[in-house]
C-alpha cells in the first residue's frame, strides 16, 4: 500500500496528470469501473467468493442451520429411547445397492454374548437386512404449526430401530442424539457470541467514543478479565448455579456465563476502531451538521466496521462451542437430560469403554468439523472484510 501512495504522489510532482478523457482511454477498464460503484457488502462478497474453502464452509453452515432449526426431521427416533438389550451397538452401515439395483437397506446386526469376556459382540448377518427409506414415517413432531411424521431416513418398519452411528451405554441412538446435541451446542455457541458481541460493541464503543473515566474503568476491567484463567472461573460459576434449575434455565445461565468473559477481545478492537474513526473527516462533518452522538455511532461509525465485527464474531463461535463442550464434559456445564456434544462425550470418559465402543467418540469429531467450518468461514470473512489487515 505504501508503495502505491508513494508513486501517486510522485506522479503529481512530475505534473504529468492527463486530462480526463485520455486517462479513461488508457487506464480504466470496465471491471475497475464496476468495482468503484459496488457497495461495501458486494465488495466483501466478491473477495469472499475467491476463497473456495470458505465458500464451501459457508454452504455447510447453512445446511447445519437447518439441523439447528429442525433437528426432529434429521433424527429418526426419540433421543431418550433406551433399551438395555441394544446397548453399545456398533455403526450400522447403510447400503444404496442390492444385487446391482438401486435399493436402500441397512445391515442387520445380531448380538452374541462372548462367553469368555461376557461382552456382547455384534456382527452383521448377511442373510438379513433392514429396509430403510428417505422421508419415511417415524415419531410425530411439529414442523412450524403442522404435525408431521416425516424424517430424513427411517426404517420402513417403524417398530425396528437402526443405529446409523451406533448406540450408547443405555441403547440410545447416537445419530438422533447428535442432531439434538448440534442444536444445543451450536445455539449456546452462537447466542453466547451474540451476547459477547453486543457487550463488546457497547462497552468498547463507550470506551472509545467517550474516553475519560469510562474508558479508564473499562480498560482496567478488560485487563483484569484477560488475566483470568477462564475455565476455573467458569467452573466455579456453573457450580454455583442452583441444582434445582431446569435444563432451560441452566442452558441460558451457561450461555450468559460464557459470554461474560468473552467480550474483551472485541471490546478492545471496537475501542481501537472508534479511536481511529473518531479522527476521520466524515465523523467531524456529521458532528458539524448537528447529528446526535447516537446517530453518528449508529449510522456512520458502526457500518464501517460491521463486517469486521461479524468476522471476529464468527471466529469466536468455535471457541465458545469448545468451551461449552469442555465444561459439559467435566459435568459442570449442561447436564442430562439436556443433550450437547459435551454431554454425549461424557459417555466416552474411560479408555476401556472407548476401546469397546469407539463410535462414542463421534461427537468429538463432529465438534472438530463444526469448529473447522466456523473457522474457515470466519477467516474467509475476515480476509474479505479488511484485506489490508493481517
Amino acid at each position: 500500500m505504501t508503495q502505491k501512495k508513494g508513486s501517486s504522489s510522485k506522479q503529481n510532482e512530475f505534473t504529468m496528470i492527463a486530462d480526463k478523457e485520455n486517462a479513461e482511454e488508457f487506464s480504466s477498464s470496465a471491471s475497475e469501473e464496476k468495482v468503484s460503484v459496488a457497495s461495501n457488502w458486494k465488495l466483501v462478497w466478491w473477495r469472499y467468493r475467491k476463497n473456495r474453502l470458505a465458500v464451501i464452509s459457508l454452504f455447510l453452515l447453512f445446511f447445519v442451520l437447518t439441523i439447528i432449526i429442525f433437528p426432529d426431521f434429521y433424527a429418526n427416533q426419540y433421543s431418550e429411547k433406551t433399551n438395555a438389550r441394544e446397548a453399545y451397538i456398533p455403526i450400522q452401515k447403510i447400503h444404496f445397492f442390492k444385487d446391482g439395483k438401486v435399493d436402500l437397506w441397512a445391515e442387520k446386526l445380531v448380538g452374541k454374548r462372548n462367553m469368555k469376556t461376557l461382552a456382547m459382540e455384534w456382527v452383521s448377518d448377511p442373510a438379513q437386512s433392514v429396509d430403510v427409506q428417505f422421508f419415511g414415517k417415524g415419531f410425530q413432531w411439529k414442523f412450524l404449526f403442522w404435525n408431521t411424521e416425516r424424517h430424513l431416513l427411517v426404517p420402513a418398519d417403524a417398530s425396528t430401530r437402526i443405529f446409523i452411528l451406533g448406540s450408547d451405554r443405555m441403547g440410545r441412538d447416537q445419530w438422533s442424539r447428535l442432531m439434538y446435541a448440534t442444536k444445543t451446542s451450536l445455539t449456546v455457541g452462537m447466542v453466547s457470541v451474540l451476547i459477547s458481541v453486543l457487550l463488546g460493541v457497547l462497552l468498547g464503543g463507550i470506551s472509545g467514543y467517550f474516553g475519560g473515566t469510562a474508558d479508564m474503568i473499562i480498560q482496567r476491567l478488560i485487563e483484569i478479565l484477560n488475566s483470568v484463567p477462564y475455565v476455573p472461573i467458569w467452573m466455579a460459576m456453573t457450580a454455583a448455579l442452583p441444582r434445582n434449575w431446569s435444563s432451560e434455565q441452566r442452558f441460558f445461565a451457561i450461555t450468559v456465563i460464557l459470554s461474560l468473559l468473552g467480550w474483551t477481545t472485541l471490546g478492545r478492537e471496537v475501542r481501537g476502531k472508534f479511536l481511529s474513526i473518531r479522527e476521520e473527516d466524515y465523523v467531524l462533518a456529521a458532528e458539524l451538521i448537528g447529528c446526535s452522538k447516537f446517530r453518528i455511532i449508529a449510522n456512520h461509525m458502526v457500518p464501517t466496521f460491521l463486517s469486521h465485527i461479524i468476522a471476529t464474531g464468527t471466529l469466536m463461535i468455535p471457541q465458545m462451542i469448545v468451551n461449552e463442550t469442555s465444561l459439559s464434559f467435566l459435568g459442570l456445564g449442561l447436564r442430562p437430560p439436556a443433550i450437547s456434544y459435551g454431554v454425549m462425550l461424557q459417555e466416552a470418559q474411560n479408555v476401556k469403554t472407548m476401546a469397546q465402543a469407539p463410535w462414542l467418540m463421534i461427537p468429538g469429531l463432529v465438534v472438530v468439523i463444526a469448529v473447522l467450518m466456523f473457522n474457515l468461514a470466519g477467516d474467509g470473512l475476515r480476509d474479505a472484510a479488511d484485506p489490508y489487515s493481517k
Partner: protein
C-alpha cells in the same frame, strides 16, 4: 572519457516479473555505462523500472522477478580491464555477496525503514564492515565510528549505540550513507536518497554525497525522478520510460539540447523561475499505460506528438547517435548512425 573503460557496464538488461495475470516487462533492454569518478543519473517517472534496474545490478530482484537477458559487467578492482559478469553469478552465492556492499553499495529509497528498529545502528553498520573487511568486533566498531564521523555525524561514539528511530531524518540518512561507504565500495547506488527528507537537509545530503565521491573517487549511480537534483549532481544522464532508455547523454546536452520527444516534453513540464507567464504548465498528454498492456513498438508513441503511424506503433527503435556521447532511441533520427556498442 571515451578512451577509459567503464567501471560498470549494463548491457541490454531485461528483467521480467512473472505474475499470475501476465508478464510485466519492468526493464526491457536497458544499456548504459558508469565510469570511475563519475555521477551517473537515471531519471524517469515512477514505475519506469529504475529501482528494478538498481536491484538487478545488485542481483537482489525478488521473485517473481527474473533477469531474462543482458549482462551487468563490473571491472575487477585489481585488473580494471577484466570484467565480472554479475548476471552469470549465483544469486545466493559467495561471489555476488562479496560484490554487494564490498564493490557496489546501496543507499536505499526509504531511510526510515532501511534500518531494523530493534538493533542499534552501530550493530547494523558493524555487520556490514565485518562482512567485507577481515576485522574483529572492536576494530569494526572503530571503523564504524570513523565512518559515522566522515559523514558528518556529531558525537559518533554515542550515536553508535542509538536506534534508528531516535535519529532525525537527516541523521538517519547520514547513518545509511555511513553504512554504505563502510565496506569501501567503488560504486554507490543511490535510489532516490533524498525523496523522504526536507529540502534543506536534502541539499546537505547531496553535498555530502558529492564530497564523499570526490574524496574517495567513487562512482555514484544516482536514481531519481527529480530533474533538478539530476542537473545538480550528475555528469551523465539516462532517461528511462516504461522499462526502456529513451535518451542518454552528458548532462548539458540532455538539459539544453534534448533530442527525444519524451525528454523534450519532460523538460517543458518543469516549472521554471524565469518564465513567469500565467499560461498553464504544459503536460504530457495521456498517462502511463498499465504495465500489462504496454504498447507495441516505441513505448512512448501513444503520447508522442510526432508519432509516425505504421512505424512507431510497430517497430522498436534502436539507439541512434544524436550528438557527442548522446544517444536517443527514436525514429526521428533513423538516418543517423546506430549506436552499436
Amino acid at each position: 572519457m571515451t578512451d577509459q573503460k567503464p567501471l560498470l557496464s549494463v548491457r541490454d538488461l531485461q528483467v521480467y516479473f512473472h505474475l499470475d495475470e501476465g508478464i510485466v516487462k519492468s526493464v526491457d533492454g536497458v544499456s548504459f555505462d558508469a565510469y570511475k569518478g563519475q555521477v551517473l543519473g537515471i531519471v524517469g517517472e515512477s514505475g519506469c523500472g529504475k529501482s528494478v534496474t538498481m536491484k538487478s545490478i545488485l542481483r537482489i530482484v525478488e521473485p517473481p522477478g527474473r533477469i531474462m537477458g543482458g549482462q551487468v559487467l563490473l571491472s575487477k578492482r585489481d585488473h580494471p580491464d577484466e570484467y565480472l559478469d554479475l548476471t552469470a553469478m549465483n544469486e545466493k552465492g559467495k561471489e555476488i555477496r562479496a560484490v554487494r556492499g564490498g564493490e557496489i553499495a546501496l543507499i536505499p529509497q526509504e531511510p526510515m525503514a532501511a534500518f531494523s528498529p530493534v538493533h542499534t545502528i552501530g550493530n547494523q553498520i558493524m555487520e556490514a564492515i565485518m562482512l567485507h573487511c577481515n576485522v574483529n568486533k572492536n576494530e569494526a566498531r572503530e571503523i564504524c565510528v570513523q565512518s559515522l564521523k566522515s559523514v558528518g555525524m556529531s558525537m559518533p561514539e554515542k550515536r553508535v549505540d542509538s536506534y534508528s528511530w531516535q535519529l532525525s531524518g537527516g541523521l538517519r540518512q547520514r547513518a545509511i550513507i555511513a553504512m554504505a561507504i563502510a565496506g569501501n565500495p567503488r560504486l554507490l547506488v543511490a535510489d532516490e536518497p533524498t525523496t523522504a527528507i526536507d529540502v534543506t537537509t536534502q541539499a546537505q545530503i547531496l553535498r555530502l554525497l558529492k564530497d564523499l565521491q570526490r574524496q574517495r573517487e567513487m562512482s555514484i549511480l544516482f536514481i531519481t525522478h527529480d530533474l533538478g537534483v539530476i542537473a545538480q549532481m550528475a555528469q551523465y544522464v539516462v532517461v528511462m520510460y516504461l522499462g526502456r532508455v529513451m535518451e542518454k547523454g552528458p548532462v548539458d546536452a540532455i538539459f539544453h539540447n534534448p533530442k527525444h520527444p519524451y525528454t523534450q516534453a519532460l523538460l517543458r513540464s518543469i516549472p521554471s523561475a524565469q518564465k513567469t507567464t500565467k499560461t498553464k504548465l504544459p503536460t504530457i498528454t495521456g498517462s502511463i499505460p498499465h504495465p500489462f498492456n504496454k504498447p507495441k513498438g516505441c513505448p512512448f508513441h501513444p503520447r508522442c506528438i510526432d508519432a509516425i503511424k505504421g512505424k512507431c506503433d510497430v517497430e522498436l527503435p534502436v539507439e541512434y547517435i544524436v550528438g557527442d556521447q548522446q544517444f536517443a532511441s527514436c525514429f526521428r533520427y533513423e538516418k543517423n548512425e546506430v549506436n552499436n556498442r
